[in-house]
């Protein structure tokens, strides 16, 4: 995509362990367009949160990243911590889960906004700080009468609204939201998602929404990337992927989502692999109902579809790269609960 505001190219993030490294993100490429809402989904431990943090340069000590995260012509991976820090906020914003723990309990809401704006836009006058803060809070449904209250005086949903406002007040081009509604009630979750889905209209902000809930992706996102064991298994427009998932993992993940229309329970056998020593070939092959012999031997090659999708699965070829007999069904032992997530 040419109008991408952020391009991730072959990003790898390894966590050091006493033994061998955990390859949490292992060669991921992903573009995010202007005002686009991209969903990043996968089971716990697939590397989706690490990818989100990797994009913002917020990796913990002991993590090593290589590859490129291109924003505004600069590679964030190669930049100094200090320069990345300067971009975080005005250019790239972040919303965490558990809003309870992210606000300073001793600081009024006003103080949080003042601190944030003074840090990044020191030239604003007091009146401007106030106006910008109240406007952003208002869009998130927080009335001006509560500007001087402390975090504990707000409910969980309101604290998350405040966190979002605090990220948006700097008008970033891209917001990364990591499970922003996980600890909230269903109705409040719906309210917050409606706010986030509206960002592109209200603020022109692009959003990377990290979640394990496919219902949320279906509802709020334009494009989605399905992550499995540190890699993107399938990526493309949400409608097309839900209508006809190309990767067996996407299909199984969709089938195991319990919604009001569920008439039959379905689950994916086994568990995601550990990322120190992932399975050879396609990392999903031990759990894949469609696995062929080639899947256990060779790493799949990315295929692109006409509808803008890309998929990492041998079922979609290239056929000339599959060795003779590679298309035969893979014979495997049955997976037991022993391997369950």
């Amino acid at each position: 995509m040419s109008d991408a505001i952020l391009q991730v190219k072959n990003l790898r993030v390894y966590y050091g362990t006493p033994g061998r490294p955990v390859r949490a993100v292992d060669g991921v490429s992903l573009d995010i367009g202007e005002s686009e809402v991209v969903g990043l989904v996968g089971e716990s431990g697939c590397g989706k949160s690490t990818l989100g943090r990797g994009i913002l340069g917020l990796l913990p000590d002991g993590a090593r990243a290589d590859g490129e995260v291109l924003y505004d012509g600069q590679n964030l991976v190669a930049m100094s911590q200090k320069s990345v820090r300067r971009m975080r906020g005005p250019e790239l914003g972040l919303i965490f889960q558990e809003p309870m723990t992210r606000l300073n309990p001793l600081l009024r809401i006003e103080g949080h906004f003042r601190e944030t704006l003074e840090q990044h836009e020191p030239n604003l006058t007091d009146a401007e700080v106030r106006r910008r803060s109240l406007e952003t809070l208002g869009r998130m449904g927080i009335p001006p009468t509560r500007f001087r209250q402390y975090p504990h005086e707000f409910s969980g949903g309101m604290r998350q609204r405040i966190m979002i406002a605090l990220a948006l007040v700097l008008r970033p081009k891209l917001l990364v939201a990591d499970e922003p509604t996980t600890s909230l009630d269903v109705i409040v979750e719906g309210q917050i998602l409606a706010l986030l889905a509206d960002l592109k209209n209200n603020f022109g902000t692009a959003l990377l929404l990290i979640t394990h809930n496919l219902g949320i992706v279906a509802e709020s996102c334009d494009r989605m990337a399905v992550m499995y064991a540190g890699r993107i298994a399938e990526e493309g427009p949400v409608r097309e992927i839900f209508a006809e998932p190309a990767h067996p993992y996407t299909r199984e993940l969709l089938r195991s989502t319990i919604s009001l229309d569920t008439t039959e329970l379905h689950s994916i056998p086994g568990a995601p692999p550990n990322l120190i020593d992932p399975p050879p070939g396609c990392r999903f092959h031990p759990r894949c109902p469609n696995a062929m012999t080639v899947c256990a031997q060779l790493e799949p090659i990315e295929q692109r579809f006409e509808d803008g999708r890309r998929v990492l699965c041998w079922l979609h070829g290239p056929n000339d790269r599959i060795p003779a007999g590679g298309g035969a069904p893979l014979e495997r032992e049955l997976l037991g609960v022993a391997d369950e997530a």
Binding site: G138, G141, I216, D261
Partner: protein
Amino acid sequence: MRPEAAVARPDIAEGEPLVSIRDLRTYYSIRGSFADRLVGREGGVVKAVDGVSLDVRKGEVLGLVGESGSGKTTLGRTILGLVRATSGVVEFEGHDVAHVPEREFRALRRRMQVVFQDPHASLNPAMTIAQAVGHPLQIHGLERNRERLRIKVAEALERVGLAPAAQYMDKYPSDLSGGQKQRAVIARAIILNPVLLVADEPVSMLDMSVRAKILELMAELKRDFDLTYLYVTHDLATAKFFCDRIAIMYLGRIVEIGDAASIYADPKHPYTKALLRAIPEPDPARAVPRDLPRGEVPDAASPPLGCSFHPRCPLAFQPCGWESRDLRDLLEARWARKAGEAGVEEEEALFGNLDALSAPLISARLTPPRGRTAAEMLAVLERIRTEDPDEPFWKGVRRLEAVDGRLELDFHEPHDPTLGQSGDVEVACHLYNAPA
């Protein structure tokens, strides 16, 4: 250890009440601040469960559904005797749980077990799986022989799918995945051969890909062990799959109860409808912008007058309990929506501090600040009404005028809705059972 007192185990027929709850109230007192206590002022009371009557019938899965703060978890815990009821009766197999002597209660408790939400927090990290699962048998003095205990633990583990059991028995919880831990917790619950299992959000901490497996296991165990479930959850999607009957709770009360099929086919209470609408549909072709109720579950220490749901309800009308705090919400929502626009700060200044509206009263009296008039305040309210005449708040207003330099606003008399039959379900809503 002394053997536990024997308690008659009555034969309760399928479909008869196993647990019978009548007008149950469970209140928590909140401690006031240090200063409050110095001057002898009491803290408030949170009515976590506020007048619930309910039967759990033998052999059914009863879903107790609500958001956090609805009292669903407290209700489950009160049934188990983990929390003492303030008033009302909980009978389990005909025994009044609150008044059974402790020694006999232990024998009763063997027959009611619980599975909590967080499998990690439910298992002692210093105990092996075999120790944890066998612990109930030891506590209740049911098995003292080490060999036989191990055999029983192995049986329970294999029963919940942790097979071969030998592979798990000597592991610690940290060696197991979330799903496996929840299976171990379930094994610990069934090892005493209970009749009632209270499952409090048993799958909501698990990945989507394992939820189905745990629900399937629970359904299997129910068949094999003739269990009765109280399934406590906020998730109407899993409840639909799992429950025979559903009770919807809001702020300590049941607002709708009936057969699952009827509730999903034709939800009556506006809150039930809202909960159903809030579930994201995993189908982008059908995802439409949802009309969700505003606000959040209010503070249970000071619930709204009348129907607790009225401040969020799109269909609320005269009798639903309109009060001064609703006026405050109306003004604040407006100022939030229009923050930064011209004239808003002036309106804020005109109404000044809204603290006068924070006590739940069925009338509001506002005095304008020096140099301003009540007529100006009235004009602002009339303007708000004209801008959005369909706002339910205005249905609750009985009188609004400027009198003697004061703004006076009276609301209609509030009425508490009570559960009444409507079609196939019981619902507590004035739309269906108009107050006399």
